[in-house]
């Protein structure tokens, strides 16, 4: 029963602190169930047992009972204090990252997550970490409030402009874990997600040296299709012709685009490259210049892949 409930309510615990959070969650859940059943059974029971039998039926004139009222003041208070201290304790133990934790710089901006690794490399949308090692994320936003949340790890912290916030985790199982933005930030809020990719220490080092293995060996078009989602392009650009915050990519290669200043350009390789690296220079008529720049966050191979993908969208 306990396991079934745990699986109903909680994703698999995948960090060292998650189990502790879950234990308290389950304690509170059982308290909830117990007290709810108490309230429901007694209330409905009284409705049945003391159903009115006659119009002038006499009722007991019980104004109060010090013993009862003390009981249901003190008992809940004790239970609440237990829950408070348990939650406080777990929270304080997790408040400071362990010494020597690996530091990742996290940048949030509408509507993509960017991660800076200790070796200086940068990746969009994917946070590669080694399993069983503490990771401290130091975060800031380039615009509005966002929030970094990994449900599987039970960690969450708001990400603020012009100020660093932080949290930390230590993953206990290899796998992919979603990071959904959890502070409302506008149109792309529900699509602003990234992934923590927990891998072995070996695979992590290989990633640092050779780049994302999921990208290696993929033909450019296929890589571009995957980047379309992972780099956040899909939030604003459709591939089926429908208008979003940005122009659809369907059939644009070789088309003519008119800019807000009236100039016309053919959508060729250079156009696409500039749009990604210096988007403010290429604002299409009928759209706002809100696309973030990917300068410094996108590798040459990824640019080539996106261009190939766009070309394929006839």
């Amino acid at each position: 029963m306990n396991t079934w409930l745990r699986n109903l309510f909680l994703p698999n615990a995948s960090s060292i602190k998650a189990e502790g959070v879950d234990d308290l969650f389950m304690f509170i859940l059982w308290l909830n169930i117990l007290f709810f059943l108490l309230i429901a059974v007694v209330t409905i029971g009284f409705c049945i047992q003391y159903k009115r039998r006659s119009v002038n039926q006499k009722t007991a004139h019980i104004e109060h009972s010090t013993a009862l009222e003390l009981t249901w003041t003190i008992l809940p208070l004790i239970l609440c204090m237990i829950v408070f201290f348990w939650g406080f304790n777990t929270y304080m133990q997790a408040a400071v990252a362990p010494d020597g934790a690996m530091e990742i710089q996290v940048t949030a901006k509408k509507w993509i997550w960017t991660f800076g690794y200790p070796d200086g490399s940068v990746a969009v949308g994917k946070l590669w970490v080694p399993v069983n090692k503490p990771v401290r994320v130091i975060m800031h936003s380039e615009d509005v409030l966002h929030a970094f949340y990994v449900p599987a790890f039970r960690v969450k912290a708001d990400v603020l402009p012009n100020r660093y916030t932080e949290t930390w985790f230590q993953a206990t199982a290899v796998g992919d874990y979603i990071i959904p933005c959890t502070e409302y930030c506008g149109k792309g809020h529900s699509q602003m997600k990234a992934f923590v990719k927990v891998v072995s220490q070996q695979d992590y080092e290989k990633f640092l040296e050779e780049g994302d293995p999921e990208e290696k060996g993929l033909p450019p078009e296929k890589l571009g299709a995957s980047l379309y989602v992972n780099l956040g392009c899909s939030t604003c650009h459709s591939i089926d012709g429908s208008k979003g915050q940005g122009p659809s990519w369907k059939g644009i290669y070789s088309a003519q685009h008119k800019m807000v200043d009236g100039k016309q350009f053919a959508v060729d390789e250079n156009y696409i490259r500039t749009s990604i690296l210096q988007p403010q220079a290429m604002v299409v008529e009928g759209y706002q210049g809100i696309m973030p720049s990917y300068q410094g966050q996108i590798r040459e191979r990824q640019l080539v892949a996106l261009i190939a993908y766009i070309k394929s969208l006839k």
Binding site: L31, I44, E63, H64, K156, Y184
Partner: protein, 550 residues
């Protein structure tokens, strides 16, 4: 001074001989209603207004749930969806639930319960109403003119930088706040000064205690919201920068200001609901209430401690661990008085004589649904667990259980309870009970699954979502239709009763409080002569149940 605790027979004879407040020939026509200082007429106008707001807010809710049937776009794009959930929240909080019980039922019933002719400041009461109307018109205008997509919480810097009619909407909230403040001032003065002879503080009906405690919060907390809205407008209009991080301001400061009001605001929402339950349960149990003093004092305790817990909305916002710990501790303290009330109400039903008429069915529903709502608050007060649950659907489920499963259910119970007093007609009891059942089922279908959606990691304010959540979202959407149908049936049942003749008995339920000692509907001056009371409310030992009671 005439003792007006006359038998019901006298009132039946008086029926039709005294014009009631609805048809008083001295106050006829639209203009007399628009300029009325009669608390009963104002209560009725407020009732239609808040029910109208509930309807509009409800439509937005149905639209939001409909869009969430499938991930991705069903019929709204992300921007339209963001506006829909914002307007659902803003309309429901500011135009419906905060005024609802105090302005509609509090206005109508409280002076009657006190044996008074009206509230302390009847003209201020009229002003409250028209300020509410002005604020509501401004809010509707802002929806039509540009829309608002900030969420009802207006967090900066999104709210200071996004387009749309944010300025007009926040100004309308500023205006609506004054309606609430004036009502609070009025009620405090009324309870202090206009009680009937013999009615000391501990002879007050518990509905009055609840409304009084609410009024304290309204007066102390709402000005903070007003100033916060003004600061937001100044930030948008003049870039003064107090919330702008780029020039040294702090966006989190907005959250402190906002929640300093908005947490006490949720007690403005629930205390009147609890106040209604404190009336319904003893009446339909025909038994004295258990623990009168603790129930009365717990209302004041909740009002006061409620000012100290706002930071529990901000555990992940960047507040310090020390602040978070203090707020968590105080949050658990404020839970205790609510628990005491629930147990005292249950104890009132022991060795009682219970009749499950519609108002009592709503009261029983309240015990179950507010029970869940209050209990799930414990998850959110616990620091380590809240980190996981904050800003997920778990929070959405929690607050709908307390606000809708609590306040709205109690409001519906109160409307049914006092309907015949207000309008002289009785609704159909069978239909009323069926509607209550449908509402109960529909409500749980809509919101129960949202608890585990949230703890599984489904964030709130999400337009689209992962496939794994679709079955739960669909079930919730079906639930919203059942809930809507139940509410519609309840509404039609109530409104169609207004076509009939005004022949409801003055005390159909056998209530012991003063409002039942005058005719239904009451005469304009409430009582013939100043009533006085000789015993405590809810004392059924020597109370004679009227022969025409239900």
């Amino acid at each position: 001074m005439a003792d007006v605790i006359a038998s019901p027979a006298v009132h039946t004879a008086e029926h039709g001989h005294h014009a009631d407040y609805l048809t008083d020939p001295a106050h006829k026509g639209i203009w007399s209603w628009m300029t009325t200082v009669d608390h009963k007429r104002l209560g009725v106008m407020y009732l239609w207004a808040v029910l109208g707001a509930f309807f509009v807010g409800g439509i937005f809710a149905l639209l939001v749930r409909l869009e969430l049937m499938h991930p991705g776009e069903d019929f709204m794009n992300a921007e339209q969806y963001n506006q829909a959930f914002t307007l659902h929240g803003a309309i429901m909080v500011f135009m419906f639930i905060i005024p609802s019980v105090p302005a509609a039922l509090g206005n109508f019933i409280m002076p009657l319960m006190l044996g008074a002719k009206d509230v302390a400041f009847p003209r201020l009461n009229l002003a409250s109403f028209w300020i509410y109307v002005l604020g509501s018109v401004m809010a509707i205008t802002s929806i039509l003119v540009g829309g608002v997509d900030t969420g009802w919480t207006f967090y900066t810097p999104y709210s200071t930088t996004t387009g749309g009619s944010v300025t007009m909407m926040t100004l309308s909230v500023f205006v609506l706040g004054f309606s609430s403040i004036f009502t609070g001032i009025n009620f405090i003065a009324t309870v202090h000064k206009l009680r009937a002879p013999g009615m000391g503080w501990f002879q007050l009906p518990l509905f009055v205690w609840g409304i009084y405690a609410t009024a304290i919060i309204q007066v102390l907390a709402t000005p903070v919201l007003g100033i916060t809205m003004v600061l937001l407008v100044m930030e948008r209009a003049f870039n003064i920068g107090i919330f702008d991080a780029q020039i040294g301001g702090d966006p989190v400061l907005f959250q402190h200001f906002f929640w300093f009001y908005s947490h006490p605001a949720v007690y403005i929402m629930i205390l009147p609901g609890m106040a209604i339950i404190s009336e319904i349960i003893p009446t339909f149990s025909r038994r004295t209430i258990f623990g009168y003093r603790l129930i009365a004092l717990s209302s004041v305790a909740i009002a006061l401690i409620g000012f100290l817990v706002w930071g529990h909305h901000m555990f992940t916002s960047g507040e310090s661990a020390l602040a978070a710990s203090i707020f968590s501790f105080l949050t658990f303290l404020v839970a205790i008085p609510s628990g005491i009330k629930v147990f005292n109400w249950m104890a009132t039903m022991y060795k009682a004589s219970i009749s499950l008429d519609t108002p009592m069915l709503y009261a029983v529903s309240f015990l179950l649904l507010f029970g869940i709502g209050g209990l799930t608050g414990i998850f959110l007060g616990a620091l380590s667990v809240d980190i996981h649950l904050h800003d997920t659907y778990f929070v959405v489920a929690h607050f709908h259980y307390v606000m809708m499963g609590g306040t709205v259910i109690a409001f519906l119970g109160g409307i049914h309870y006092w309907w015949s007093k207000m309008f002289g007609r009785m609704y159909n009891e069978t239909v009323g009970r069926i509607a209550c059942g449908i509402v109960f089922v529909g409500f749980n279908m809509t919101f129960l699954t949202q608890f585990f959606m949230g703890s599984q990691g489904m964030p709130r304010r999400y337009y689209t979502y992962l496939d794994q959540f679709q079955p739960l979202h669909q079930f919730s959407t079906f639930g919203s239709w059942v809930l809507g149908a139940g509410l519609l049936i309840a509404a039609v049942n109530l409104f169609s009763s207004l076509r009939g003749p005004k022949n409801a008995p003055s005390n159909p339920w056998g209530g012991t409080t003063l409002e039942w000692q005058t005719q239904s509907p009451p005469i304009t001056h409430n009582f013939v002569g100043q009533p006085s009371i000789e015993h405590n409310p809810y004392d059924y030992r020597h109370f004679k149940i009227p022969t025409d009671a239900v």
